[in-house]
Symmetry: C2
Subunit: 362 residues, 2 copies
């Protein structure tokens, strides 16, 4: 099935992907404006299903790498996207047939449309996470053993660096070093993949799901309880906590934004205080020290006033929020998924237990 993505659809994708982005993946407002501008200039973008790609079709992922707190301040000119993309095409010795989202997020699900509009290429209705994760190797393609490189890092000055790394972990390490040297956030093109590999390794329909989530939020207007109900039903999620932000530590360093937010209970249902710790994305939610949910499951914070997702760099003291737990894509609950993105991959001293099981044990 093919469908066309125009200005209105992008509005929804940006917000919907930010829900799946679990606090990371970039600010939906910035992402929306960016992609809409390129669609105004070049027309709508076609969304193509994985099954409609030829086996030898080449697709290349694009996105931003770095700290989302930097991305909202240091917005690319746009030219870097094509620089990075063409560098990977050159390294592959072939032209790409479509643009790929590597992760879901307000910016990283919309950038591919900005580039696709410029290059008049379709975007694949899939991603490599079904959510956002902070590191290069935390991608379904890497879990299946597909290489992250050739990967290109490009900045607003015109510097373009092409990595050929022996592992996705090395691509993360070297790419992050470049991004930090370039000011904390840069554009990347990575994971050049053939259609035949995408058919087993992609997390499918992430973009139409984002579109649907965004549309649901829009239909619910600013009635956050209706948003919550619609979202938890559609995504098999739960409200983990409801409260007010009473503490926030946030540091931008080493190409990430890291920190924790403390949320005080507003309705006594779930203990006194909830803490959510994050590395670009929300990693772990605890209530009075007891884990409620952890990566790879999705922990999404919605602002009570708007019902809209809040990215980690937008959290602020006094904000009233809902903390949602949503199940991750099935791959992440398997051994190959947990090896790339289980709690211990983030330095958390915790075994993964699906959040539904944690709640059932309470």
């Amino acid at each position: 099935m093919r469908r066309s993505i125009g200005l209105e659809e992008l509005e929804d994708i940006a917000i919907g992907a930010a829900v799946l982005g679990t606090g990371g993946g970039g600010d939906p407002y910035v992402g929306k404006l960016w992609a809409q501008q390129r669609i105004i200039a070049n027309g709508p973008v076609e969304l193509v299903d994985v099954d409609d790609l030829a086996d030898d079709a080449l697709v290349i992922g694009v996105g931003m790498m770095g700290a989302p707190s930097v991305i909202v301040e240091k917005i690319p000119s746009g030219a870097e996207l094509a620089l990075a993309f063409h560098a990977v095409e050159d390294a592959c010795g072939a032209s790409a047939d479509a643009v790929l989202c590597v992760e879901a997020g307000g910016i990283n699900s919309t950038i591919p449309f900005a580039l696709a509009a410029d290059l008049r290429l379709p975007v694949v209705n899939a991603d490599g996470m079904g959510r956002a994760f902070p590191e290069v190797q935390m991608v379904s393609f890497a879990a299946y053993g597909l290489p992250a490189t050739p990967m290109a890092v490009a900045d607003e000055h015109g510097n373009v660096t092409l990595l050929r790394s022996v592992s996705a972990e090395w691509a993360e390490r070297l790419g992050r070093a470049l991004v930090v040297a370039e000011g904390g956030a840069s554009v990347i093109a990575q994971y050049p993949i053939r259609g035949r590999d995408l058919k087993y390794a992609a997390i499918r329909e992430t973009l139409t799901l984002s579109l649907e989530i965004g549309s649901t939020l829009r239909a619910a207007g600013r009635r956050s309880l209706e948003v919550i109900e619609a979202l938890t039903e559609r995504l098999s999620g739960v409200v983990l906590f409801h409260g007010k932000v009473v503490g926030l530590t946030r540091e931008t360093a080493g190409g990430f934004v890291r920190g924790a937010v403390a949320i005080e209970d507003l309705d006594t249902r779930a203990g006194g205080q909830c803490e959510v710790i994050f590395q670009n994305e929300n990693l772990l939610a605890t209530a009075d020290g007891v884990p409620l949910a952890s990566v790879p499951d999705l922990i999404t914070i919605l602002e009570e006033e708007s019902g809209h997702p809040v990215t980690t760099e937008r959290l602020r003291f006094g904000m009233r929020v809902f903390v949602l737990g949503l199940p991750c894509a099935p791959l992440w609950r398997e051994a190959i998924g947990l090896a790339k993105a289980g709690p211990r991959c983030f330095g958390l001293d915790l075994d993964y237990v699906p959040f539904e099981q944690r709640l059932a044990m309470r």
Copy 2:
């Protein structure tokens, strides 16, 4: 004029280039063994003069980037040299006709012979400094506006990264970030240059000069006074200080070794205490706080016992040394040279004055 470089010549080049390396450029013992091993395997290497290169001949510089204190511990397998070199050839879309030394130094003047032996290419009798400097943009080619990139960084794991930077300064910044992420020292290939450009931009005959210096040191045996006399005469240098190392601070961080050595007077001739500060290479020598010599002039420390040059990472407490001042290549005393490698480029709050003038003023 063409000449063949075999095992014995390499012995001399390694030591002679370490004299010009002014404390940096890598340990001559490690460099000698490395290149000799490849010459044993593949035969001697031809040295070719700049004027014997065709105008469209392509030459590519190779060397190590990082902290010399790391290089003596983390020796490459050798395979990275060809990986980096071929990556730059690929980026140029052409095969190289010769290998180039970018700087003079115990390792960085010998690595090119190791690679040249493997690839059966000649080495150009020139370099881009006539000495060693710590940063990518501190090269005669950059002073003349020639690009440092495409530049490749390769490590012992097999990671190969190709930089295309908007300036040599950006190549330094991004390359350094990669080198640090790879453990503090990596192999690089850089400054792909055509024969016609090399003819005006190269510092000529650095390798035959190194060979001559090494041979002079060898002839003098372990009689350091004879070494000093021969060197200062041949290179128009002076002994700035003679003494014993009584203090040493040295830190390896950010891809450099930085520090200072304090040397106590042994013959009352030149004040009480000399300090030499370094960033890979010796940057500034002072006696009781008064500058004696600074970059871009050469400050070389010779061990009294052996008459051999001491690299900054080999300095140790109690060592008796001569501190020599030697004039830099004329380019570095011109405005375009001082803009790249004058004292202020190293953060020194000091105008450049040729060391001969400083001595005449004393």
